[in-house]
Amino acid sequence: MSTSITGHSAIDDLPDPEGHGPHEGDRASTSRWGDRLFGGAAKASGLFVVLLVTLVGLFLIVQAVPSLLNNEANFLTSTEWVPSGAEPRFGIAALLWATVITSVIAMLIAVPLGVAVALFITEYAPSWLSKPAAVIIDLLAAVPSIVFGFWGLTIAGQYFQPVQDFLAGTFGFIPFFKDSGFSAKSTLAFAGIILAFMILPIITAISREVFNQVPTPHKEGALALGATKWEMIRTAVLPFGKPGVISGAMLGLGRALGETLAVMILLSTLNPSAPWSFSIFNGGETFASKIALNAGEFDSPQKTGAYIAAGLVLFILTFIVNSIARVVINRRKAFSE
């Protein structure tokens, strides 16, 4: 029995029907074990995600290192790929080139096109068309990669042949456009074009989101000063949306770097003895397509390790690109609030 400052309270003496002390409460809905359990489960899931990404990096590193130590060639600068045998020689230079050049071509097309489509949806489309247009562009992202690749190879590719013939014929003296004797549908250039349409939806989606957030006073202010619609977009919408466009482009780049099936189906592989060429009308293999194409060959740890090393480089590349995208968009959030 406690003695309170305010004196003796009647409740202190009341007998409790269930044998609980007078100040204990009924422990019904306010008890906290449920909170601890649920909060713990939520936190554990968060921890799981952190662990997962760490494990991805860790496993790839651990399994790549032994092969890398056995490697007789320079991993970063060699263009050879002979991962098995007593003296394995493999390097990523050729893979890196094909991956980067296809992604760059994709970006050159997809960024302007994606931003223009986003502007169309947010500023130009009549109101009845705006929502369906957004859905149509999103559906483009739902087309499976393998279908994109097969369609590109068997149907769309032939229409690129005249373009390649023209460019190679007119600018062929530049090594970049040199004709390498490959059919247009299986060159780096055409793979880049297909990639452009595959990453277009993500660039459009993110640009659209920021263009929608442009404060109306900015836009009305520009119009009130006599700007035409295009001038309003150039002076009010685009500067405000720039970080969103950059981060959308970065996310798109991340997708393009890791895109597998479409690129694997389209690109002709090169003869190992073929001379090095900077031409975009050449065949080749990207990190992802090389790994997928040789999935049946993972028979020895040495060989598997070489492909995992290539996968590790791809992981690091996309990690960097995605981190940049995130930093850019988060910085904007900090300013706009």
Partner: protein, 306 residues
């Protein structure tokens, strides 16, 4: 535009003031404005071309395959590339089973992570989780597949079984679910939570019986969109789930055919029956993915928040 002409008229009426030419409809500025309008419209049309083109060509080349009952009921067991007949039931079944199991594993983890980020997460750890979800979003499917290969086959010494494929797909599905659920939970008004707390309802019960039901249809939308994404993934299947022509439903033993691997199997064949099957499988896959996608968007309309 109208403002510009207006200013022009004003200046001609008040003749005393000579303003610089603000530009009528024919000026360079108006032409630029028109050009921009045309560019935006044509950009949209260009962006629509591949989608329409792919849909039309798969419909034309694969449509007749889907019209037969056999396509939905038979497998490719015992059928060579040279022969017509058989169906894609084994592949459809495989794709649906793997998708369902993937969703079953990813949804609890994804939704709980989103709950952590929105309802509990403060400070450094929450930031780390959020950042890692972003990184996971960007992990290429081939890298996810390689990781599971390194874990499942090289480290544990297991066989390549369909379950390993679903593990790789879980990796790809979790971030989409976390992000969409997070968006939906953020939209639930804080007043609802406060009212619940004021009635003495503990936090976990508030989340389970107030927050989640309010955001429910939005979460389902996210799950369906995520499912649509992983069902079309092919890279993990190529690394971890070799194709088979017969019916299979065991995730832990043997092989399981799926629509993407069915396409991949027959795509190098030049023989007409095989080509038909590729287009048929492509159309079936697109149909499944689009139906999930549109169903998700449709359900999103019934959302109580947003």
């Amino acid at each position: 535009m109208s403002t510009v002409t207006h200013v022009g008229e004003e200046s001609t009426r008040a003749k005393a003031v000579t303003l610089p030419d603000m530009g009528g409809k024919s000026s360079g500025r108006a032409i630029k404005d028109q050009a921009a309008r045309i560019v935006m419209w044509s950009a949209f049309v260009i962006a629509c071309v591949p989608l329409v083109w792919i849909l039309v060509s798969t419909l034309l080349k694969g449509g007749h395959m889907l019209a037969s009952v056999d396509w939905w009921t038979l497998s490719q067991n015992g059928i060579t590339a040279r022969r017509e007949g058989g169906g894609a039931a084994h592949a459809i079944q495989g794709t649906l089973i793997q998708g369902a199991v993937t969703a079953l594993m990813s949804v609890p983890i994804g939704v709980l992570t989103a709950i952590y980020l929105v309802e509990y997460g403060r400070g450094r750890f929450a930031k780390a989780v959020s950042f890692m979800v972003d990184i996971l979003t960007g992990v290429p499917s081939i890298v996810a597949a390689l990781f599971i290969y390194a874990l499942w086959v090289t480290t544990f010494g297991f066989q390549r079984v369909p379950f390993a494929v679903t593990l790789a797909l879980v990796l790809l599905m979790i971030p989409t679910i976390v992000r969409s659920t997070e968006e939906m939970l953020k939209l639930v008004p804080n007043e609802l939570r406060e009212a619940s707390y004021a009635l003495g309802v503990p936090k976990w019960k508030t989340i389970v019986s107030i927050v989640l039901p309010t955001a429910f249809s939005g979460i389902v939308t996210g799950v369906l969109l995520g499912l649509a994404r992983v069902m079309g993934e092919t890279a993990p299947l190529i690394i971890l789930g070799p194709y088979t022509k017969s019916m299979a439903s065991n995730l832990f033993d043997g092989l399981m055919g799926t629509l993407p691997t069915m396409i991949n199997q027959d795509r190098t064949e030049a023989l007409q029956p095989a080509v038909d099957r590729v287009w048929g499988a492509a159309l079936t896959l697109i149909l499944i993915v689009f139906v999930l996608n549109l169903l998700g968007r449709f359900l999103g309309r019934f959302s109580k928040v947003s």
